[in-house]
C-alpha cells in the first residue's frame, strides 16, 4: 500500500469518514442516556436504530486502520499514542460490556424514563470521554510517528525542498512544498 501513492489518502479519508459516523452515532446514544436529547423516545429505540450504523462504521474504521498499520507496521507499533489509542478502544469496549451486561441489564425498567439511572449515565459520559480520547490520540499519532522514509521513487526529493529539513523534520511539521506529510484531516 505504501507504494501505491494514491491508496494512502483514500484509505485515510475513509478512516476519517468511518470515525465520524462512529463518534456521531455513539454521541446521540450517549446523550439519550444522559437525558440531554431524544428524551421522549425510548432509549432502546434510539440505540437499536443507531448502533447498527456504529458497528458497521467501526468495522470500516478497523479495516482501514489495519491497512494503515500494515503499510507502516513498525512505526505504528513503536508509537506511544498508537498503543494508547488501542488501549482507549479496549476501554471503550469494556465500558460497553459493563453497561450491556451489568448496569444496563434492567433497561426495561427505565427505557422510557427521561434519563438512565446512575450506571447508565456514567456509561454514557465515559463513552463520550473515551471516544474523544481515541480521536485525539489518533490525531496525535500523525505528529509523533515520524516521517515514513520509504518515499516513492518517483518523488524527487531535491526538487521538493532542502534535504536536511526533510531528514530532521517530522511528517506534520514539514515545511510547505516538502514531501507528503501525514497531517491534517
Amino acid at each position: 500500500m505504501r507504494t501505491t501513492v494514491r491508496a494512502v489518502p483514500i484509505v485515510e479519508a475513509i478512516h476519517v469518514m468511518a470515525i465520524a459516523v462512529v463518534f456521531g452515532t455513539i454521541l446521540v446514544v450517549d446523550l439519550r442516556l444522559l437525558g440531554v436529547r431524544d428524551t421522549k423516545r425510548p432509549y432502546t429505540q434510539v440505540s437499536r436504530e443507531l448502533l447498527v450504523w456504529t458497528w458497521a462504521a467501526f468495522v470500516v474504521a478497523a479495516v482501514t486502520g489495519a491497512m494503515m498499520f500494515a503499510a507502516n507496521a513498525m512505526t505504528y507499533y513503536q508509537n506511544t499514542p498508537f498503543r494508547l489509542k488501542l488501549l482507549a478502544i479496549a476501554a471503550a469496549g469494556l465500558n460497553m460490556l459493563v453497561f450491556h451486561f451489568v448496569t444496563g441489564r434492567n433497561v426495561d425498567e427505565w427505557d422510557t424514563e427521561r434519563t438512565a439511572p446512575a450506571g447508565g449515565r456514567v456509561a454514557g459520559a465515559l463513552s463520550i470521554l473515551i471516544w474523544t480520547t481515541v480521536i485525539v490520540l489518533g490525531r496525535w499519532i500523525g505528529f509523533t510517528k515520524g516521517y515514513d522514509f520509504s518515499i516513492p521513487e518517483e518523488v524527487d526529493l531535491d526538487a521538493l525542498g532542502s534535504g536536511i529539513d526533510v531528514l530532521l523534520d517530522f511528517g506534520d511539521a514539514l515545511p510547505s512544498g516538502a514531501p507528503p506529510s501525514d497531517a491534517a484531516p
Binding site: 465520524a20 480521536i135 501525514d182
Partner: protein
C-alpha cells in the same frame, strides 16, 4: 495569493500557533470531533427526508433535534479550520484539494440555508404527515455525497501532488 500566504505564515499570530506544538493536533482533533457531529446530524436529517429513519417523529422534531448541532458544529469547524489555515497558510493555499473543499463547503452551507428557508411553517409546526418532493429527496442524497466529498478533500490536503498530479497547485 501566495504572497498573502507567506505574509500570513510569517505573522506573530501564525508563528505562535506553529510554535505551540500541541495546538495544531488539538485543533485537528476538535475539527474531526465536529465532523462526526455535523455529518451524523446531516445524515439523520437527510435520511428522515427520505423517510428511512425516525418515522415515529415528525420532521420538525428531527430538525429541531439535529439542526442546532449541525449549525454549532459547522461554526466550530470553521473556527478551528481557520486557525489551522492561519498556522499553515502556504500549505493550504497551494493545495488544489483545499480550494475545491472551500467551494463545496460554500455550496453545502448555502444549500442548508436554502433548505431551511424552503421549509414551510406547517412543516416546522410539526406536520407529521408531510412528505418531501422527489427533488428535495434527491437533494438530500446529494447533500450526503457532498459532505463525504468535503471530508475526503480535507484529508487529501496533505497529499495534494499524489491526488492531483500536475493539477496540484503545489507541483
Amino acid at each position: 495569493m501566495i504572497e498573502f500566504a507567506e505574509w500570513l505564515q510569517a505573522t506573530p499570530f501564525s508563528e505562535a500557533i506553529q510554535a505551540a506544538g500541541w495546538l495544531v493536533p488539538l485543533l485537528q482533533s476538535i475539527h474531526i470531533l465536529m465532523i462526526g457531529v455535523v455529518f451524523v446530524s446531516i445524515l439523520t436529517i437527510a435520511l428522515r427526508v427520505l423517510e428511512l429513519v425516525r418515522m415515529d417523529q415528525g420532521f420538525a422534531d428531527v430538525w429541531r433535534r439535529f439542526a442546532p448541532w449541525m449549525w454549532t458544529g459547522i461554526v466550530v469547524m470553521t473556527l478551528t479550520g481557520a486557525l489551522l489555515v492561519a498556522a499553515e497558510p502556504v500549505r493550504e493555499f497551494t493545495s488544489t484539494s483545499f480550494w475545491i473543499k472551500m467551494l463545496l463547503l460554500a455550496v453545502g452551507i448555502a444549500s442548508a440555508i436554502v433548505f431551511r428557508r424552503s421549509l414551510a411553517p406547517m412543516v416546522l409546526a410539526g406536520d407529521t404527515a408531510h412528505e418531501f418532493s422527489p427533488g428535495i429527496k434527491i437533494g438530500a442524497i446529494a447533500t450526503v455525497v457532498l459532505w463525504l466529498a468535503i471530508i475526503f478533500l480535507g484529508r487529501a490536503i496533505a497529499y495534494d501532488v499524489e491526488i492531483w498530479g500536475v493539477l496540484s497547485l503545489s507541483s
